[in-house]
Amino acid sequence: MKAAVIVFPGSNRERDMARALTLVSGRAPTMVWHAETELPAGTDLVVLPGGFSYGDYLRCGAIAARAPIMAPVREHARKGGLVIGVCNGFQILCEAELLPGVLQRNASVKFVCRDVHLKVERSDTPFTRGYNAGQVIRVPVAHGEGNYFAGEGTIGRLEAEGRILFRYTDPEGKRDPKANVNGATNAIAGVLNEKLNVLGLMPHPENHVESVVGCTDGRGLFAGLVAHFAQAA
């Protein structure tokens, strides 16, 4: 699996992401600076990491979404290539209109940094084939603006088309307002685009891939991607 991690000024989770990708896939990703105008040849997976790209000026992800590297990222997605945006990366994908909706300030108006439980809604995507549908995983979140919002029509379409991939739940997988850390519409933690090849999620699976930190629930996402590309090859 040839992965490229995009680095914007103000990205701060790109090394966690690179470490997770290297550990699980056995191959280090290429780090690609935002000012580049092309992706490395043969890139399978593009990852937009977390952080505060461009200092969150104007709006989270707004300026990064217009960075030069986003043109080839957009093209990669258009051709069906896989793209993942985590946290600030999710905000960037929404601002770039590669995903619908927007991440608003948390309903609590506070930055939230803790482990959450996510229900994996389906396992028949390249991103979740390492999990079972309905499985609950524990991964950390760390964000001030993760409250997913979209118009009613858009939310209805996302639900009907099975494009909500992760939802905040309690440890048993049940919806609970207390488990919805940021007040997201329908407890949405991760969404897919129409073609199911672009994923944005607020939580950080890359931080739960090693037993030394006490949990490896995030590993399935990367292991699933490796299996996906091994099968495609």
């Binding site: 104007l58 709006r59 707004a62 929404c94 601002e95 619908p100 927007v102 608003q104 919002f149 979209a150």
Partner: protein, 55 residues
């Protein structure tokens, strides 16, 4: 309560209609996120002459 942002933008070209079109485009493309925000563009006429530099 309404909360928002105001951008004061100076445009070199003196044509008001052109300026308005340019600013609308800027608002749609970048300055506003139209999923949750709306915007209003107002052209207020030529900028005041810069004050002469104080010695």
């Amino acid at each position: 309560v309404r909360q928002g942002k105001v951008f004061d933008i100076e445009i070199a070209d003196g044509d008001a209609a052109k300026a308005e079109a340019t600013l609308k485009e800027a608002a749609e493309k970048l300055l506003a996120n139209t999923v949750i925000e709306n915007f209003k563009v107002e052209v207020t006429g030529p900028a005041p002459q810069a004050a002469p530099a104080t010695p």
